[in-house]
Amino acid sequence: MQSQLPIYPEQASNFAPQVDALMLFISGICVFFAAAVTVAIVVFFFKYRRKTPDAVGITIEEDARLEALWMIVPLILSMAMFGWGAVVYVDYRNVPQDTLDIYVIGKQWMWKAQQPNGLKEINECHVPVGRNIRLILSSEDVIHDFFVPAFRVKMDVVPGHYNTMWFRPTKPGRYHFFCSQYCGTNHALMGGWVTVMEPSDYAAWLSGSAAGNVNPVVTGEKLFAEKACSTCHVANGTGRSPSLNGVYGAQVLLADGSIVIADEAYIRESILQPNAKIVAGYQPLMPTFQGQLTEEQVFALIAYIKSLQSQPVPATGAGIAPPTGKR
């Protein structure tokens, strides 16, 4: 239980104990140095107070060994802080494979979250305890930031970029999330609650609230036809553009010879700025959809393209890098 005047927020994710331990470690070192300097100053201040108006202090010879000592000791300690901090950071950035993906959109001044089955929430986000959760973040206007103090996680939500973050909730409950990057008038109101549930409760909640929700894959498939994507991106690889079967998560060989992984950010960019990365063997024919699709529609299209991962990949016309192209 938290006291009336807590000095750290609740620990409710896999990261929270790590971050708090790091905090204690650095605090310990810093309190020691601050106390040492303060005590020295206070002692000298009283002990060496000027005795007569014309008294002069005693000159102390400089000592290079002393200077070296107080450069090297802080250097070693700060490298320890750097190293430990780096280890924790790499953990933040290495997303595990088996994540439950939730799309989060920030816009002035609200949050929209979309569960894998298409269920949409506003300023709320439900997650099961003990599962690795990945949030895919995008913004419809300015830079926002998704911050859950109890999880010790924070990531900017940048227009034009997909940022991702992950965490594993460890304790059921309701936790504040905030927008932590100043975004205009109602920045302070742009927050909500993350609800961490037992997996069975989460499943029940998902199916119980499912009525009226369209699976994003279905929405995406409809859009794929409506926007005439299917005219060129023919599934069997005979179209003017590469087949998208199996493309998600695969390596794609580009016209300039480089290879990229087809993740969400790549697919998003290829929809909005098709000419940024051209698949080897294809012409830059595709029109841009910048400004013609909402972020939610882009999500739906990506969800549909991800669903094609299991479809048979045609022998030619797939755009996926051949195995020999692997580095």
């Binding site: 971050v19 300097v37 102390i60 450069m71 750097f82 924070k154 205009g184 920045h187």
Partner: protein, 559 residues
């Protein structure tokens, strides 16, 4: 120059820079090329901006007394903290010590008659005033609500406030900074008096040399960055707006490339002030002169390589984050070197409890906390949680207010007798220093805890569990305000009624104390020749102190 016994009633010199007239009244000030008068022009104008920024800060703290916000609408609150930041950073902190004390003291300290380019010096003040007018115009016509960081695309597309005049004002003001830095570098290189070698220069001058490097190399980048944001706003050119093919992260890189080193523009001169005060009032040579001088240069150089530590949660690459975190830890070392050397200087000193010393020791206390909390923010794993929270707000106020402003006020108390020729009330000013120290800590220490608890910055309303700490902070701010009003009052009073100080009241060893207070327009009647080492009280019979050997009885009795 003789030292008259303190019992005598002194009088101001007959002729000095304040009563020398080159024209009538106001004109003699507005057309002056005397570095000392220009310094006073700056003193008056930065005080105006400090006052504006201070009033805005007061309103912020009153508003945050209750979770719902006690005073203003969300729009107004956002304008309050934005205008507070812009006024304080660009128009008070950055020019404060360099343009006031640097201008006044550098020629005096190195034995020169003026800066290398006196007319450019005056020009830089006019540029500052024009830039300031643009910004005040922005404040007066709709205000500014982008945050002082002007992040795009909020500033360049979405904000409905007067962004364009503000960025133009800061762009213009940048040239003032560049010209000041240029003037200092040329002056320090070419106009040192005979015998004033590089390693005999006061550490204040070293600090300003380092600061000038940052001003010259960094300011053009922020100027052009803000201009680009302005162009995007006015003419819809796509630099930073993704809808026009730009990248908002590019803005942050460009902005912080200057704005992180800008922190060193604020703190290095304050460190220079402290490096003067400590040996003067401990009355012994500063410990580790070369290390303190070198650490100023090291801070200026490494300070240019740490900017992306402001961007650990923007989605920048892990390798970039690792590099910038590592470099950020390196820049902490020269700051630590300074603190250890200042502290060691006190050892076996003859420590006076004069007001400037109280301010300087207060500076060290606050700067240590500000500097050490930088280690938390430089730590990658920890920064994710505390980035953009009140922890950051507390950290940079400890550096900029606890450090830079405390150094500025300490410098005012140290050189006030030189600038005005008069002393101020001793007990009252020591009391004010203690009030400042206590008020500051009460205002900003609770914010570290608020930040770790997760309160984001720039919130006009907050969950009720954060209220206790916010109330503490506001209570501290009212004490802090008293701590600033007191010196403003008694220093103003002393300009007319203060006791006449004489040329070297403390006494101190610098060349600026070898001339009258206030000095002649030409600074020195004859160009001084320097034959002594810096801060050497033992071999300076002209200071009228105890003989070359320290008075043995009390010193040894203490060992």
């Amino acid at each position: 120059m003789s030292n008259t016994p303190p019992t005598l009633v002194r009088e101001l010199p007959h002729k000095h820079y304040l009563n020398a007239t080159y024209g009538a009244g106001l004109r003699s000030w507005l057309l002056t090329t005397d570095h000392k008068r220009i310094a006073l022009l700056y003193l008056a104008s930065v005080t105006v901006f400090f006052f504006i920024g201070g009033v805005l800060a007061t309103m912020i703290r009153i508003h945050l007394l209750t979770p719902g916000g006690a005073l203003v609408t969300p729009e107004t609150y956002n304008k309050l903290f934005t205008m507070h930041g812009v006024a304080m950073i660009f128009f008070f902190l950055i020019p404060s010590i360099p343009a006031v004390f640097g201008n006044f003291l550098i020629p005096l300290m190195i034995g020169a008659k003026d800066l290398a380019f006196p007319k450019i010096n005056l020009l830089s003040w006019y540029i500052y005033v024009i830039g300031g007018c643009f910004v005040l115009y922005s404040f007066g016509t709709g205000g500014l609500d982008t945050g002082w960081t002007f992040y795009t695309p909020l500033s360049s597309v979405y904000s409905n406030s007067a962004v364009t005049p503000a960025v133009l004002g800061i762009f213009i003001n940048g040239f003032s900074s560049i010209l000041t830095g240029l003037n200092f570098i040329v002056t320090i290189h070419t106009m040192r008096a005979p015998g004033m070698t590089w390693f005999r220069m006061p550490l204040f001058v070293w600090a300003h040399y380092a600061t000038s490097l940052v001003m010259i190399l960094g300011t053009p980048v922020v100027a052009i960055t803000l201009l680009l944001a302005g162009l995007e706003r006015m003419f819809h050119l796509g630099f930073f707006n993704p809808a026009l093919g730009g990248d908002p992260i590019l803005f942050q890189h460009l902005f912080w490339f200057y704005s992180h080193p800008a922190v060193y523009i604020m703190i290095l001169p304050a460190m220079g002030v402290i490096s003067e005060i400590i040996p003067t009032f401990a009355r012994k040579p500063i410990f580790g002169y070369a290390f303190i001088a070198g650490s100023s240069i090291a801070i200026a150089v490494i300070g240019f390589l740490v900017w992306a530590h402001h961007m650990f949660v923007t989605g920048e690459s892990t390798y970039a984050a690792l590099t910038f975190s590592f470099l950020s830890y390196l820049v902490a070392i020269p700051s630590a070197v300074k603190v250890f050397n200042w502290t060691s200087t006190l050892y076996k000193g003859s420590i006076s409890w004069d007001p400037p010393m109280i301010y300087a020791l207060g500076f060290i206390g606050l700067f240590v906390i500000g500097g050490l909390t930088g280690l938390f923010l430089a730590c990658l794993g920890l920064d994710i949680h505390i980035h953009d929270t009140y922890f950051v707000v507390a950290h940079f106020h400890y550096i900029m207010v606890g450090g830079a402003v405390m150094g500025y006020v300490g410098g005012l108390h140290f050189w006030w007798p030189k600038i005005t020729g008069r002393l101020y009330p001793r007990s009252l000013s020591r009391f004010a220093a203690v009030v400042l120290f206590i008020g500051f800590n009460l205002t900003f220490f609770p914010q570290f805890i608020l930040g770790y608890l997760g309160m984001p910055r720039r919130y006009h309303t907050y969950p009720p569990e954060f209220q206790v700490l916010n109330v503490l902070s506001t209570a501290g701010a009212s004490i802090l305000a008293l701590g600033y009003l007191l010196p403003m009052s008694y220093l103003t009073w002393s300009m007319r009624y203060g006791r006449v100080a004489g040329p070297n009241p403390w006494p101190a060893t610098g060349l600026e104390w070898k001339t009258d207070s206030p000095p002649l327009t030409e600074n020195f009647e004859v160009t001084p020749v320097v034959t002594w080492e810096p801060y050497d009280f033992k071999n300076r019979p002209d200071l009228g102190l105890g003989t070359g050997t320290p008075s043995p009885a009390p010193a040894h009795g203490d060992d």
